[in-house]
Symmetry: C2
Subunit: 236 residues, 2 copies
Amino acid sequence: MKSGVRHQLAEKMAGEITLSDSPGQALKKWRQSFNIPQGLLAEHLEVSPSVISDYESGRRKSPGTAIVGKIVDTILSIDEDNGGRFINKFAKILYSEFDEDVIYDIHEYASPVALSDFAGVIGATTLCGPMDQTVYGYTVINSLNAILQLSSSEFNRIYGWSTERALIFTEVSTGKSPMVAIRVTPFKPRCVVLQGISPGEVHPLIPGLAERDRITVLCTEVDVETIISSLRGKSW
Amino acid sequence: MKSGVRHQLAEKMAGEITLSDSPGQALKKWRQSFNIPQGLLAEHLEVSPSVISDYESGRRKSPGTAIVGKIVDTILSIDEDNGGRFINKFAKILYSEFDEDVIYDIHEYASPVALSDFAGVIGATTLCGPMDQTVYGYTVINSLNAILQLSSSEFNRIYGWSTERALIFTEVSTGKSPMVAIRVTPFKPRCVVLQGISPGEVHPLIPGLAERDRITVLCTEVDVETIISSLRGKSW
DNA sequence: GTGAATCTTCGTGAAATGTCGATGAGGCAT
DNA sequence: ATGCCTCATCGACATTTCACGAAGATTCAC
């Protein structure tokens, strides 16, 4: 997934810069590894070139999150305008391709999102479990491929960085296998969304399974592409 | 590898906080997910509790990299003092165990490190190639297991976030297989270190292979544990 | 409902950031 | 050597951060 990479790269860059003893040098390293001159960066940021230089040379020892974020985002945007050459390079280095068919999208929120809001955005109705919960992220998973391709240890990767998330399984038939997989696995999500199925078609065992692990189960018949793009556009 | 996880987690946290629209909320999310009260965090940071609250509540809209870094580090340290319960939880979610036998250590620098300094720290001598280069990170790889266990796409993961790095292959016999693997693979490191071998024992083909991809090759007979701990302790 | 623990709000002052524009230094083309 | 591009340095000034401590709000146990 394209924009997943961008986000991960951005986070990596920002993290490294923030933790560095000299954020300036780290900033410089990334700008240079994208082959962008200070001047161009300054232009896109609508500041004078000396500003960039001041940061990189360390005159400002502890730049705020706001500018760090803006700079990282701008570096990435400039590269995107040029066809995303460097972003793709990093993406290739990063990803083993198997993720592509299994994990359609994965994202973390920095602050909690109410489950009811989340359900609204993806057009989901409650099947069972409480709705007064929050989630910190979501993963969209091709259920068939996940079961075919993932080993048990790899299966944990669908949880990203937090188990307090929604797992959206796409094109399920009855929803039984995803729930069984979760049952036998040590980590539990807050919520499971079964995509491509109506509440009536759901396997009768599911409420029982969900109850055991205190998981809320939702259903949606909205198609996968729409779900992904709605979730992406949101800032909550 | 233990401390690799800590570092990666720290980077992830810092990145997320820095990129967040409201760094305060992100900060809060992480503190809470480690189950640490504001007061305790404040105590360890030697500031008054209201400081933490001011950040989390967003009075400071763009906290500097310095405090963000300090807070992240403190959260992690507090958890370590308590036995690292949450760090381990995140580690489990993150890693498929196969890495353990293949990648002994992997690290990125925020700024360039001179190859000659790097060689000095790991007690390596030059076999061929230029020494007036810099690296941005290193990976310590068990050469045998890498070849046995990694698929070609997984092999790319040894590059971490930058190819401008040193790849340290441990316990090589002649050093031929690692160099061949690099030859047939699209990404090239700056430098290859062959561990557990003296310059005289190196396979005669190696200088030729290295020349092709303009890679500097070093040798060291220092043992793996020592190399890893020397590299870890360094701040350059 | 009294206390303890946790967290929020706010006024305040010293210090640092965030920005500009002017100037200077290196490098690499012509 | 004459530009041109890239980058570093610096003084100046408005805006924020950063940290404190006092005081108020919440929540939970007893």
